[in-house]
């Protein structure tokens, strides 16, 4: 399978602060990838490196087999919606579409019109007068109508109300069926990601903490509850988080083999999994590392 994105030893430094370090990740094509992590973990940095808005300080990144933003052809294959959903405030909605048509060789008017209709946007309206949600819809329309092979969405859902959000996700998923587009989407809304994603990357404190197919990740993680004991005695499993009361121990583990039946074993949902990895790293980092 070809990779839609491949990073090796990728790092980005702003001044003295590393926003992303030693990022090595391989994302297969045809997936909808959820990028999650705490604020400031480096999600936006990784996405901006992927679309060529930033240049790496260390290592390298390849997107759709080429260097990000290396050529007009490469640019036309990647659709990007930034977190701030920027638009040209002086131009009308229609003028944005005309711009999209001029700038993108694979521009699809039919897609653009259909999305505009379903979002209820007036083509004559100036973009500067749109609400936050409407602006997000316009940005998304431009990104989808250029018919990219890869769609990169940085927190696209935060400005949308629940109904519009659902409609947007429906449209997004339909376009993955029709056009086979790969998607990388960062979000804090795990329940949305659980619906739409089949691949997950967890970024914590500027490093990739976990990456893989969601089904495989859920299948390999378990929650264990049992009488209090030292988790160091647990063979064949990596302990991600542990909680103890006087009598009871609760663990979230990545199990490589069936777990000792003395534990009460239960499955782990996506939200628990993400939270466990985010929490584990917050606990393990020394204050010095946090400051870095």
């Amino acid at each position: 399978m070809t990779a839609v994105m491949r990073a090796a030893g990728l790092g980005k430094r702003f001044g003295r602060r590393w926003a992303l370090s030693e990022c090595t990740v391989d994302i297969p094509a045809g997936r909808v990838v959820g990028l999650v992590g705490p604020n400031g973990a480096g999600k936006t940095t990784l996405l901006r490196l992927a679309v060529g808005q930033l240049q790496p300080t260390t290592g390298g990144i390849e997107v759709l087999g080429g260097r990000p933003a290396a050529s007009a052809a490469q640019l036309s294959r990647v659709g990007y919606v930034a977190q701030s959903t920027p638009v040209y405030s002086r131009l009308t909605v229609e003028e944005h579409l005309m711009l999209g048509d001029r700038l993108n060789p694979r521009w699809c008017w039919k897609t653009a019109r259909a999305r505009l209709d379903s979002a209820g946007l007036d083509p004559r309206q100036r973009a500067g007068r749109l609400s936050g949600g409407q602006r997000a819809q316009l940005s998304l329309t431009l990104a989808v109508a250029k018919r990219p092979d890869l769609l990169v969405l940085d927190e696209p859902l935060s400005a949308l109300d629940p109904l519009v959000r659902r409609e947007f996700l429906q449209g997004l998923m339909e376009s993955t069926v029709d056009a086979g587009v790969s998607v990388i989407v960062s979000s804090h809304v795990i329940s949305d990601l659980e619906r739409i994603c089949d691949h997950l990357v967890i970024l914590v404190a500027s490093r990739v903490r976990l990456a893989g197919g969601i089904d495989e990740l859920l299948a390999s993680h378990r929650q264990l509850v049992g009488p209090r004991r030292d988790p160091a005695t647990l063979p064949g499993a990596e302990v991600i988080t542990e909680r103890h009361t006087e009598r009871q121990t609760t663990l979230l583990v990545r199990a490589h083999q069936p777990v000792d039946p003395a534990w009460t074993v239960s499955e782990v949902g996506l939200e628990d999994l993400v939270l466990a990895y985010m929490k584990a790293d917050a606990a393990n980092l020394s204050p010095m590392e946090m400051a870095r």
């Binding site: 996700l169 998923m173 993955t176 619906r195 089904d215 009460t264 782990v268 949902g269």
Partner: protein, 135 residues
């Protein structure tokens, strides 16, 4: 045609929820032999979920011999699960009723009955699984 529902946060993988809902519809006779399942695109558009999730669910059902994809036409039900439940499971149901009656007679409330059922169910499950491992 049936419609699927997704329960986020239920801890059950979305693909498995679809599989379970089809099985349930087959058991209840809502879906019968020859019926068509919603197309992948229709499910995706309705639920806003990943197409691979639907594909995985349909493959699983195909693997179980319950449905069959016909290229260009859709996915169709091969056999129903309706008759091997209601009739065939009647003796089990009678036993279970009797057991429930006894449990109540011994003073167990709903929660205790449920807890007892699930711990026993899981223990039996683990036993069966470990036996399988040994062979």
């Amino acid at each position: 045609m049936i419609e699927f529902l997704l329960h986020p946060g239920s801890g059950v993988a979305p693909y498995l929820q679809i599989v379970q809902q089809v099985r349930q519809a087959l058991r209840l006779g809502v879906l019968r032999e020859g019926d068509q399942l919603p197309t992948i695109k229709a499910v995706v558009a309705q639920l806003a979920i990943n197409p691979n999730t639907v594909l995985k669910a349909y493959r699983e059902l195909e693997h179980e011999g319950l449905v069959q994809p016909r290229p260009g036409a859709g996915t169709f039900v091969l056999r129903s699960l309706a008759d091997d439940t209601v009739a065939a499971h009647e003796p089990l149901r009678v036993d279970l009723r009797a057991w429930l009656h006894r449990a109540r007679g011994e003073g167990l409330d709903d929660d205790s009955i449920e807890a007892l059922f699930w711990t026993t169910f899981r223990a039996a499950h683990r036993e069966a699984a470990s036996k399988e491992d040994m062979t």
